[in-house]
């Protein structure tokens, strides 16, 4: 149900780690819970074409996702030196609903501390967590 090559958090982010390159997004489950996404707000970390922070600590909110129903923060699964936000989402925020693991990614950057990787959930563990949460 959830891609096996990704790692997950209990706050419903996924992270793809290739060497020290990191890509972060929200899971298909999270986008379903949020419903129709109308805006992704990076103003926490990014302004006028530049990052306003050098590093996003594990657990820090790096963007806010506005849906028709609600607003929700997205947290860094591990500590990241950010290199890129997904600027395509400015005009097409619904991409996060449509392709949460591909074109709907939220942040790219460099891994800072490999040890943190061990605290993330595997696809199986995350699926189990989602089932439990549904009760």
């Amino acid at each position: 149900m959830f891609p096996k090559d990704l790692l997950y958090t209990k706050s419903h982010e996924w992270v793809k780690i290739e060497g020290d390159d990191v890509t972060v997004g929200i899971t298909s489950h999270a986008q379903e819970e949020l419903g129709d996404i109308v805006y992704v707000d990076y103003s926490n970390i990014y302004e006028d074409g530049e990052f306003t922070v050098e590093e996003i600590k594990k657990g820090d909110a790096f963007c806010s996702i506005e849906s028709v129903k609600a607003v929700s923060d997205v947290y860094a699964p591990i500590t990241i030196k950010p290199t890129e936000i997904n600027s395509d989402l400015e005009d097409a925020p619904e991409t996060v609903n449509q392709a949460p693991y591909e074109n709907g990614w939220l942040l790219k950057g460099k891994m800072v501390n490999e040890v943190e990787k061990g605290e993330l959930l595997s696809a199986e563990e995350y699926e189990k967590f989602v089932e439990e949460e549904k009760g």
Binding site: G35, D36, S43, N44, S64, E66, S67, V68, K69
Partner: protein, 367 residues
């Protein structure tokens, strides 16, 4: 509240089968959305959608003095109502604020039905009982009725095959007693979406059958079952007030910009003295509609600033799916309530620029 303590409507299981996302609302387990709140909203604007609104309360006032009692409880002029006509009104406190807003259905001078908000149902019933005067009886018959709203330009065509009355003969804010799939029903041309449509009240036993028949009839119009999220954005675009957000026991009917339901010349009613005085002296704050220019929506309860000072908060705020703008409502000082006035809304430690605009934000084209 634990899910197990929540009340179910006669349609709860039907919603669950449709994979609706269920949330607690006013003590009920209610569908907030099915597939997409956005598409549900657009379905109502462009075609047709149906809503389970069985959580709404139905309180009946019956007896010789029913009319004069309704006149005393509510601020609109119930005397103007003809038989089978409906009026938007409010139950008012002595200080001119809201016990609730409601629809008054007149069957005849001796029988009225009040359709009240789910969250206020018990409070309203107690309030009404405690002010009872003359020869009247008050009945809370909420549990005897399922209420389904059929809303949108294709509402009439969707509902017509299921009922025994000619729907085109019912004017906006009128109703007709009739039958839906053979069962007694109150068929009312009303709604909370800013669109043409109907609300039908009938026996809970028939609820799933009627709901499914509506979905079947509406198939050719791409009908959608709609949840509370779409209901909220639809009513906000139409600037229909939500109790607990835009109207409450802190703001008067006049401050809520509902002077049109406040008939001070009709004679005495609870709250009249205060409202009369407020009208003479002029209100100091007023509920206004605003638009924010940024892509970030201003949401309920976000603080409102004028000249760097926090003066108010957003009572309702959202992305408006049909208008594709970020809109909302807030109370502003009267001298800052003119159309075009600019102010700020604080969102996550930054400020959004907002402008007071004409309301309703959305108005349907009348045929």
């Amino acid at each position: 509240m634990e899910e197990k303590n929540l009340k179910h409507t006669p349609l709860t299981e039907v919603h669950q089968k449709l994979n609706a996302r269920m949330v607690p609302f006013a003590g009920y387990l209610m569908p907030v959305q099915y597939e997409s709140a956005l598409l549900e909203h657009l379905a109502v604007r462009n075609s047709v959608g149906i809503f389970d609104v069985s959580h709404m309360g139905e309180v009946f006032i019956e007896g010789e003095d029913a009319l004069s009692f309704v006149q005393k409880l509510t601020c609109n002029n119930a005397k103007k109502l003809k038989e089978t006509q409906i009026q938007y009104s409010a139950l008012t406190y002595p200080n001119g604020t809201f016990v609730d807003d409601l629809l008054v259905y007149k069957f005849n001078d001796k029988k009225f039905m009040l359709c009240v908000n789910a969250a206020n149902r018990e409070k309203d019933y107690k309030w009404i009982l405690s002010h009872k005067e003359g020869n009247v009886e008050v009945f809370d018959r909420s549990d005897s009725y399922t209420q389904i709203a059929i809303q949108g330009p294709k509402a009439l065509e969707t509902l017509q095959p299921l009922v025994d009355v000619n729907l085109s003969e019912i004017k906006y804010y009128w109703f007709k007693p009739g039958k839906v799939l053979g069962t007694d029903a109150i068929i009312s041309r009303t709604g909370y979406t800013g669109e043409d449509g109907f609300e039908i009240y009938f026996s809970p036993e028939k609820a799933p059958e009627v709901w499914n028949a509506l979905l079947e009839e509406g198939k050719k119009f791409d009908i959608k079952p709609c949840g509370l999220a779409a209901r909220n954005t639809l009513r906000l675009e139409a600037k229909m007030a939500l109790y607990g957000n835009d109207i409450d026991d802190k703001h008067t009917v006049l401050e809520a910009d509902l002077g049109w339901i406040c008939k001070l010349k009709k004679g005495d009613f609870i709250g009249r003295d205060v409202l009369l005085k407020q009208k003479e002296e002029g209100i100091k704050i007023k509920l206004v509609g605003f638009e924010v220019k940024s892509k970030v929506p201003a949401r309920d309860h976000y603080p409102v600033y004028i000249d760097g000072k926090e003066v108010s908060y957003v009572t309702s705020g959202s992305f408006a799916p049909y208008l594709k703008k970020n809109i909302g409502l807030t109370y502003l000082p009267i001298e800052k309530s003119e159309i075009g006035t600019e102010f700020q809304i604080k969102v996550r430690n930054k400020f959004l620029e907002a402008t007071v605009v004409e309301t309703p934000f959305y108005k349907r084209e009348k045929k």
